[in-house]
């Protein structure tokens, strides 16, 4: 079914509970249903609802991104792709361009994969998830949204309506990078999103780093982020932040890499994404 409003969706979800699944781009849920990884009696298409499929930016409130807005809208947007570098980076590598034409950032978040490419970027950019449910609307910081692999904070009857991402002033820059063994068609062995705001003297005023694929959920590297404040943006500073970020990584060993290798990559990617984020801040 394809309801016309958020309240209709809430009603359907409340009625069917776990047996109802939402369809935005469908690039995860259709595969999961087909492979028997998830089951559903009702699949609810949310792409008929304006506030879920639209996005708008203003200098005061930043970006309001409907949960079903497809990836390509971000990286093809001349202004947004510059302002939200980390998000442009990540939406550009989620699947191929066919997938990016359907898959949404909101869906990527709700699917709650520890290796999701958009989540470390959203964390770094300080995004908030706006959730509608039977008892009205609530907001949750993106880093609190995922509760385990494939699990999130959404309660019975709730859906993600939009993501609110703060405005990007001058001297802000962000970047996302993942490591994959090939150059395409792959899932992040480790993914890191970094955001910085530079002070007028060129030192780092604010920073936030998000890590993917190194724990059951994407993480905020708090100590690493804090270590940057007030520092000159140098290779040594970035490397030190990388070392701190490595300390919170608790990755598994699997066919994509050993825990030792993944932990090492956290340091490498923190350094690389900070370098890019600072370059972008300096040129913004």
């Amino acid at each position: 079914m394809a309801p016309q409003s958020v309240s209709e969706v809430v009603a359907v979800l409340s009625e069917h509970g776990d047996r109802a699944k939402l369809l935005a781009g469908g690039t995860d849920i259709i595969v999961q249903l087909r492979e028997g990884l998830r089951e559903a009696d009702v699949v609810v298409d949310i792409k008929k609802i304006a506030e879920v499929t639209s996005f708008k930016y203003c200098d005061e409130n930043g970006l309001s991104l409907g949960a079903a807005v497809a990836c390509y809208n971000l990286y093809e947007h001349p202004q947004l792709s510059k302002l939200y570098g980390a998000l442009a980076d990540s939406t550009h590598i989620i699947g191929g361009w066919q997938i990016q034409s359907r898959a949404s950032v909101g869906g990527n978040l709700c699917n709650a994969s520890p290796a999701a490419d958009s989540i470390p970027a959203l964390i770094a950019l300080n995004a908030t998830a706006v959730i509608a449910g039977p008892s009205g609307e609530r907001s949750v910081a993106v880093e609190e949204f995922c509760t385990g692999p494939g699990r999130n904070v959404l309660e019975n009857g709730e859906l993600l309506v939009s993501l609110q991402i703060p405005a990007q002033g001058a001297n802000c820059g962000s970047a996302y990078e993942r490591f994959i063994p090939r150059n395409e068609m792959d899932i992040a062995v480790v993914g890191v999103g970094s955001w910085v705001k530079l002070a007028d003297d060129g030192t780092i005023a604010e920073a936030k780093i998000g890590l993917g694929a190194v724990a059951a959920t994407p993480l905020v590297a708090e100590a690493a982020s804090a270590s940057l404040i007030g520092k000159e943006p140098t290779e040594e500073t970035f490397a030190a932040a990388g070392e701190l970020a490595k300390q919170i990584a608790t990755p598994i060993s699997d066919m994509r890499g050993t825990d030792e290798y993944r932990t090492h990559l956290v340091g490498v990617l923190v350094k690389r994404t900070l370098t890019t984020a600072v370059e972008r801040a300096q040129s913004s």
């Binding site: 090939r182 792959d186 899932i187 062995v189 699997d254």
Partner: protein, 752 residues
Amino acid sequence: MTSTQYRVIGSRPVRHDGADKVTGKAIYTADTKLPGMLAGFVLRSPHAHAKVVSIDTSEAEATPGVHAVVTGKDFPNVENKMADLGEGSVNLAYLSSNCMAQQKVLYRGHAVAAVAATDVHIAEAAAKKIKVEYEVLDSVTWVLDAMKEDAPLLHDDLVTDSMGDKAENPSNVPVHLHFEKGDAAKAFEEADVIVEREFKTATVHQGYIEPHAVVADYNEDGRLRIWTATQGSFTARQQTAEVLQIPLGNVLVTPCEIGGGFGGKITVYLEPTAAILSKKSGRPVRITMTRADVFEASGPTPGSFMRVKIGAKNDGTMIAGEAWLAYDAGAYPGGMIGPGCMCVFSCYDIEHAVVDGYDVCLNKPKTSAYRAPGATQVAFATEQLVDELAAKLGMCELEIRQKNAVKEGSRRVDGPVYPPIGLEECLQAVQESDHWNTPLEGPNRGRGIAAGFWFGCGLKSSAACTVNSDGTINLLEGSTDIGGSRTSIAMQLAEVLGLEADDINPMVGDTDTAGYTDVTGGSRVTFATGMAAYEAGRDLQQQMKTLAADLWDCSADEITVGEDGAFTGAGKTVGFKELATELFQAGEHLVGRATVSPECPTNGFGAQIADIEVDPETGKVTVLRYTTIQDAGKAIHPSYVEGQLQGGTVQGIGWALNEEYFYKDDDTMANASFLDYRMPTMLDVPMIDTIIVETGNPDHPYGVRGVGETPIVPPPAALANAIFNATDTRMTELPMSPPKLWKAMQSKQTSE
């Protein structure tokens, strides 16, 4: 021979099947639809090794929409009899129980039952209602572990055959091979420099894009018709008939268009099962594998352990070689250890050598052929040692190869003496190439080279050509067309008859229409089926001479056929088409035919140059530039030769850098999908440059050598040598994936 000017051979006509392939009209097995057709689903073992205690199919059989269920008890008992597969042979009892498990399952993915229903979803749901009681057994997936005395035994009745001597106690090692020439032990004592290392390689899959598929229709009169994705319709017919214990002549196999095989579509997996489901249900049945099925239950190529040693004199002459090789056979005996032993020193003229090889059963799918089966592994070992030897002797890595390269008269460790071959010419082409002569600059970069060999076989081929009234030709042959062989065969017929490639309509016949033809494998089709087409053309010319003699009122001996295919006699010269039309109008119609079975190998040698860059922080390798050089004897259609060179090289690059069967603690495969089984994408390899060397094969009318397989042999070695030159780190284990290369670089730094 190479200086001969040909009209058609060496040109690049559009392939005859091109339009059908690019417009989607070509019929593949899964496109085949028959009235009343059912869909089959195969239930597979979740365990790596288990006894099948009982199977209860009652609930599946009672499911609405289900027409038939089969298990191992529906398969006839077959004896331990060997059946020829064309390139290799198979024990029928093993073949049968690989198609459907009897008392034991030997790998995850091993078929235990199958269901035919009105659609595949019903079949799958019903199959999941089949209750299989397993008694899980200890399993083993590493070749050296499987050789241990206390290893879990896969087959209670299997004893080691060591060059004819049978062992007393059962083991997982069906075969121990031993080859030697000269006195290797003494030669090592006389060597000035010795290099020795141990190497490991992971199990890898051919990765053909089309999963295995079959349609079977068992008729009331006992005739069985099969449409299948196979590299050899005649071997598929034989295997199916033998496993089902029905007369060979009752089986018709139609080879559909095929989406890649690389050696993996010679053994039958689904055909007997589909046939029994069809017999039981009275309806045609189609079964297609999923990608996970393909990885877990078809035939990958062996993982291996190798210890290789080479000794040389100070002047760089290699005098002694020793190799100890253990290859996965998979669940049943009969892996690729034979060619591994024969190829380990196949590129170098080493006077004294000894080779021991072990075929080892373990809880992985039964291995199958994969492009030069068994040769890539040993090249990974030998070609790295040759580089090390050169470094120790202060020689250039190309120079040491040129100094020791095999040539006409060199004897391989397993006996054969080479006829004229082209390794020296390939190495000369390396030396003269733009790639070799362009310096590689920049940090973390390295260049590596390696040589490679594959036998290339002849085997049996047939061809028949029917002449149309306008002088064009319908060519009927039996080689499944994987790499453009319709065209490369047709071109040879066109050349001999003085026609153009598009005057020939080549058709791949089924087993009722085409003459017996062995598999598309062993790099043999353009060589042997091409030779059959050539001979069929000659047969046609003989017939035409006799008939023209009547027409022209002269003796057949007076009529000659020119290089351009024109007939001259009785004072006139008439072209092929003109004469064919004339004869047709005179009431004569023509069919030329030939069967050939050349026994000689075609001996394909090659050499490759790789430039790479390593990311020192992640261990990721980027291939910057790559050149593949090969002796094709004579390239019939150079574009297809280049395609084979590029395709084989890219598969070799994948094998080198990322591909592997990754096993979990319970010995089941963790990465049975194209997401986590990482074959290279188009973004992972540069354009592969090619150089075709043509030394001419004296055993073929146009000098053809097989080219399909050799290109996959050098890449892992060439890349390992390049990685060493970039990082000073010697990689002895495949794949050289980022985590492994990073770890190796770390260990090296720590130890320094």
